[in-house]
Symmetry: C2
Subunit: 309 residues, 2 copies
């Protein structure tokens, strides 16, 4: 494999190529054409969903889905649909997190947030509809011929993103802000594992599920996804503490101003960087069984840790 | 079958018995115990989900699921879980529709709405988590041994409740309010078929899917569900125009005050009552193939049309 020496530039190119593929899939799914069982697609709601899902973003989650499946030689429409479903789930969560009653953000990826570009009601509904569409995409026979695989994808996404995962993590995050005193490290790590880790982990697992990977391979990839998710969130905390608005495309320094539960707050920048390094090592170690085939995923973990926005 | 002469009192008893069964299932699902893949269940978010899902309501949708399955002799945990999933989806939609940015309601089923009892952020998240949990419940092997059936349930729920169904209908409803002039009847009927009809129809179909009904039987039940959904919404419009706060458990007369798209507005009360009668007849006609076995479902259509709240 020539991937063994994947340079940052080569990784960026691969990230971009996957993003284009997923963008094309999302573009097709979010077209005006109704699917069987749909009565009509209201234009403004669809436009809001497209605004939330089609523009910008690194597409890290679908990248992980696509590359996890490629480990087992699987590519094509089915895994692209699964990747697009994970991205729709992610985009719904951004739209709802940005709402005035939640994080109250005006700017996202350098553009007005969804409720600023449209209105609050439309942002709530577009988020709801993207969340729902993610399950639609996974449950549709176009994603996989085997119904058991489709149901497993739906169940995995639900567990990663609901009460015991992402939505629960966001609830804990909002609660931590209002308490006004810092959480202990272990509580922050659990909060972050729920809020961002669970979906990143599922993004990896989804590729393995679609590809029909063995249980052992799935466990290895889940361990990788878990470590990568932890690394991602620490890197995010460090970026917020050190970045500026222009490179972030959103307001910097807002975590400290709001008493957000972050590992930079709990450990300081140096402690946070050390922990970040530990999680990247864990992510790489989990991929050992795959040898050089997994170099793209190793590069993804390093990219996650060192990204500047 | 003794159901042939189902009196209103006997129907009410059966509705209550089913509601108790579904309530018990929801109570178990919304307990503190985590499921595999869940990291933790944050107490306040869970409490809000329980507030939204466990109290009150006629439980009409899960009633339809349970009774549709009973047509084919199927009862038990699997269909109860499917019925509970439909109810969670319904409760999420109420929580989000009540939000200040949407219908801005303070009262629901005679109690403070979710965002009044908790806060807006929690109401948004609890709705998101109930929506997600509905798919969790359907995709879980505890609902049906056959993965293809579970995936079909997920797909049906998604199509009924997303962009091309309920969420889309709510978007059209909000848009109609802001236009300020009445919609033509055909547009109102489509809006209502999306906003409330699609989920009522799926509630019926879900029972048939779990029970493994034939394609012909499923089509008959889908036609019944569609007509019942249309009847339900007209009855709702009539209730709003004629009812009072105390019997409704929410503010009456608000549709007219807000320029809501209703069939009472388009047709007048007499015209609306006539159309209601037509849809009830359609619902009954669709059940003809099942003979006296379907008397409970016929009673449900009549109940839907004549209910006083």
């Amino acid at each position: 494999m020539t991937d063994q020496t994947l340079t940052p530039a080569a990784f960026a190119e691969r990230l971009g190529a996957n993003a284009d593929l997923v963008g094309g899939t999302l573009e097709r799914m979010l077209g005006a054409q109704t699917l069987p069982g749909e009565i009509s697609r209201p234009a403004r709601l669809l436009e809001a969903m497209r605004y939330a899902a089609l523009e910008g973003g690194k597409r890290l989650r679908p990248f992980l889905t696509l590359e996890a499946a490629r480990l087992f030689g699987v590519e094509g429409e089915g895994v692209l649909r699964a990747a697009a479903a994970v991205e729709m789930l992610h985009c719904y969560s951004l739209a709802h997190d940005d709402l005035p009653a939640m994080d109250d953000d005006d700017l996202r990826r350098g553009r007005p947030t969804l409720h600023k570009a449209f209105d609050e009601a439309t942002a709530i509904l577009a988020g709801d509809a993207l969340l729902t569409y993610a399950f639609d995409a996974l449950a549709d026979p176009a994603t996989h011929a085997d119904g058991a695989v489709r149901a497993e994808l739906c169940l995995g996404l639900a567990r990663a993103s609901g009460l015991g995962g992402m939505a629960g993590g966001q609830a804990l995050d909002l609660a931590a802000e209002s308490v006004g005193r810092p959480l202990p490290q272990i509580a922050i790590e659990r909060l972050q594992a729920m809020k961002t880790g669970a979906l990143l982990r599922f993004a990896v697992e989804a590729g393995a599920i679609v590809a029909g990977a063995s249980q052992a391979d799935r466990l290895a990839l889940a361990a990788y996804g878990k470590a990568l998710g932890a690394a991602f969130q620490i890197a995010d905390d460090i970026l917020d503490a050190e970045g500026d608005d222009a490179t972030l495309g959103k307001r910097a320094g807002k975590d400290a101003g709001r008493n957000k539960a972050t590992l930079v707050g709990a450990l300081g920048i140096i402690g946070a960087r050390r922990l970040l390094g530990k999680f990247v090592e864990q992510a790489e170690a989990a991929l050992a069984p795959f040898g050089a085939r997994a170099d793209v995923l190793i590069a993804a973990a390093r990219f996650t840790a060192s990204r500047d926005r």
